[in-house]
Amino acid sequence: MARMKFLCDAERCIECNGCVTACKNENEVPWGINRRRVVSINDGSPGERSLSVACMHCSDAPCSAVCPVDCFYTTDDGVVLHDKDICIGCGYCFYACPFGAPQFPEGGAYGSRGKMDKCTFCAGGPLPDNSAEEFREYGSNRLAQGKLPLCAEMCATKALLAGDGNVVSDIFRQRSVGRASPGIAWAWGVAYGKPGIRSGRDMSGKASSEE
């Protein structure tokens, strides 16, 4: 099976927050929760770079390792998900995660954080695929519909890539090589190409920005 990965191209991200909005809209996450966020470095300076960050669906996920109730699991597609019925909202995953992906609905006193929420790679949760309960608790399950995460799909500059890790890295490799060739570096075709064709549930060899 495929290993699903996100990849954000710092040379392309224009900090439009389209991905953040798309995610919120698609998954109907409550106020205060941001499964995805865009962070800029050197904001306003010539060297400014932005990246869109969410759960990176680590292979050896730190969140899963430290969870006291062991509520995380990795799908066959390599997506790291968790069971909210088991989560106790302790916040340990938030400490361990390098990306600040775990979010909590209640920042109230006394560590009452509510159940943890994070990016699911638009793959829902342990409940029946595309059921109403699944949507309420975890948001959209696009993967089950053969679609890729909406954040990447909606990315205007195709900075945010999502999909099979192999394909995503191939795209990025080609881009980098292209950028290194003077003259054609910013050619339209190199930069954006034509979107790939996706169908079916098997995500092998698929990515949100195929050349």
Partner: protein, 360 residues
């Protein structure tokens, strides 16, 4: 032969030269770079990723998303915390708890219950006042609640999930966490009260050194002298003070994630909380054992407030002598309250040298 030999020598030297050049030439840029110093050939990507990883003191970025640590790309401390918790705290703490329990069991097997050698005399010596006892059990109750729920959170994944299943354990863990967080803030109050009511008589002195040298008189036929509190009790008291303050402080940081404290602070708080908790619980095992089933005649001190005169003589001989001198042996069970109500009686009875009862 000679010609051939010369040719071969030349060829050998050319070969060595070529090989040397092959090895040396690629190093030249590095040498140049070395001479020019670092940064002469900047890698734009490296700088970006250094900042992303917050290396070299680089600051975090900015984000439209407002949240604690929301503008941080990469939390570089999470992994360190994970290593600490999973590779050190859990295994070492676990073995420590098991080891100390085993040690106590072994002690019990060898020594048995520490008996009252002289039997009961029937005469009472007042030891702890009502307030001291109330505060002790108050702190004890909260401590046990916190210890049990805390251990569930630390070891439940390894010990209880196989027993209860994931859902069953989740309910247990959720309840444990809520109880832990609900009763946790009461513990600082208990610690403060403990310090207020038990500080007197707990300053260490030479008697305690000797007491430790004699293994606290726990071994048969090797009695150790002690005042109102012995070395072990004093150690435990100071552990309560130090651990109590540390565990309360770190606990409050973890329990109130509303003051904008970020992950790094909370990770450190967790490290302190975990280490101290394990040490605290380990030490408490000894205290609980010897205070209850481990020693004959010890528990009454905290339940009834008095001890048998023979117990006092055997375990706190110096204090017993003071009490005898003060006429506090064989008095009413609540003689301490009695004494306290009489403001003009200068009775300490807490092991301070020269404690005396004025003729009133």
């Amino acid at each position: 032969m000679n010609k051939n030999a010369k040719k071969r020598t030349v060829m050998r030297r050319v070969l060595v030269l070529i090989l040397s050049l092959v090895i040396i030439l690629p190093l030249i840029p590095y040498a140049v770079a070395l001479v020019d110093g670092p940064g002469a050939v900047p890698n734009p990507g490296a700088q970006l990723w250094n900042e992303v990883r917050q290396r070299d003191g680089a600051s975090a970025g900015v984000s439209q998303v407002q949240a604690v640590d929301g503008s941080v790309f990469i939390n570089p401390y999470g992994e360190r915390w994970r290593q600490f918790r999973m590779q050190q705290l859990v295994p070492i703490g676990g073995w420590l708890l098991v080891g100390v329990t085993a040690f106590i069991a072994l002690f019990r097997l060898i020594r048995g219950k520490v008996p009252l050698e002289g039997g009961r005399s029937g005469k009472l010596v007042p030891r702890f006042s009502v307030n001291q006892r109330v505060v002790h059990w108050f702190a004890g109750t909260i401590f046990v609640i916190e210890a049990v729920t805390g251990l569930v959170l630390l070891y439940g994944r390894f010990v209880l999930i196989p027993l209860l299943g994931p859902e069953g354990f989740s309910a247990t863990a959720a309840a444990s966490k809520e109880i832990h967080n609900l009763f946790g803030p009461i513990f600082p109050l208990a610690v403060v009260l403990m310090i207020l009511l038990f500080l007197r008589g707990n300053s260490p002195n030479m008697v305690d050194v000797k007491w430790f040298a004699k293994a606290g008189g726990l071994l048969k036929g090797m009695p150790a002298s002690s005042g109102y509190y012995n070395g072990g009790q004093k150690s435990w008291f100071w552990m309560v003070v130090v651990f109590g303050i540390a565990i309360s402080g770190s606990g409050l940081v973890l329990n109130f994630p509303v003051f904008g404290q970020g992950r790094e602070i909370m990770e450190w708080a967790h490290v302190v909380h975990g280490v101290v908790a394990i040490l605290f619980i380990t030490a408490s095992l000894g205290h609980i054992y010897i205070g209850t089933i481990g020693m004959e005649g010890a528990i009454e001190a905290m339940t009834q407030g008095y001890v048998d005169a023979n117990w006092a003589k055997e375990h706190h001989d110096l204090w017993f002598a003071e009490m005898e001198k003060a006429g506090m042996v064989g008095v009413a069970p609540n003689a301490l309250e009695e004494v306290k109500r009489h403001d003009d009686i200068d009775f300490k009875g807490f092991g301070s040298p020269g404690a005396k009862q004025k003729e009133g």
